[in-house]
Symmetry: C2
Subunit: 146 residues, 2 copies
């Protein structure tokens, strides 16, 4: 399961993705539309900014905007930023690797090969799902209404 923070981040990115290339969108606006506590969302957007996924501008008419194309922001990226490793155990993580304290030799470990397979399974599907993927469904919805 992902944290609320991560879920909120994805929702916010999708909102920003809908207005990609069309200027800034304010925290208040996203907060109201997605039912995210404003103060909490501020922190999230700030983290996204520090991770160079969004850009911002202060003052009147300011707000946030995507700095990358929605196709270039994956669920894996967002998950790693807020919730850390995708792998089930640190010793097979690509981005958050940590050595096992108990295991003597990684090459002889009976757990790693299988945990690597699981990581790859999860990583692949999370990497190929992007903010754009979600937006595709939003498009379908508006077509339906017509």
């Amino acid at each position: 399961m992902m944290s609320m923070k991560c879920k909120y981040a994805i929702k916010a990115l999708v909102r920003l993705g809908q207005r990609f290339g069309q200027g800034y969108m304010q925290t208040k606006d996203i907060s109201e539309k997605e039912q995210i506590p404003k103060k909490f969302l501020e922190q999230i957007l700030l983290e996204l900014k520090h991770a160079r996924m969004v850009n911002s501008k202060q003052g009147l008419g300011g707000g946030y905007c995507l700095v990358k194309h929605p196709k270039d922001i994956s669920v894996a990226d967002v998950y790693r930023l807020f919730d850390g490793a995708i792998a089930l155990v640190p010793c097979v993580s690509l981005n958050f690797y940590e050595k096992c304290d108990d295991c003597k030799s990684e090459n002889d470990c009976m757990f790693r090969p299988e945990f690597i397979k699981i990581r790859e399974g999860a990583r692949e599907v999370m990497s190929k799902t992007s903010i754009h993927s979600f937006l595709q469904h939003a498009k379908k919805q508006s077509k339906k209404k017509k």
Copy 2:
């Protein structure tokens, strides 16, 4: 990432799997071989018993044994028992489903289809990885030594 509890459970099940069909193995034995705090392991084995994955016997010569074949205990089973849902969000979970409070209609939700794909990706690989899968690697190791 999985909890230590879940990781310990898998390790314990693998140990029991090595002696599958050969009687009982004691907590103390597993605890020492896998470097798991004994008292903590007791709780874990008890939970596994309540989930009908292992069986036990008290008194001298007692201990724990697998009640299912190692091929029939998947990482998904163990993960669900200790860490809960495999899905990233409750509203697409098969075993721990919870309705979204914000989302009006699940059919029109732009997030569900993608989150279902991710769940299926993770679920598939975790379901097909069993205690037996880990044991295959242990066999290879002992062959190597010869």
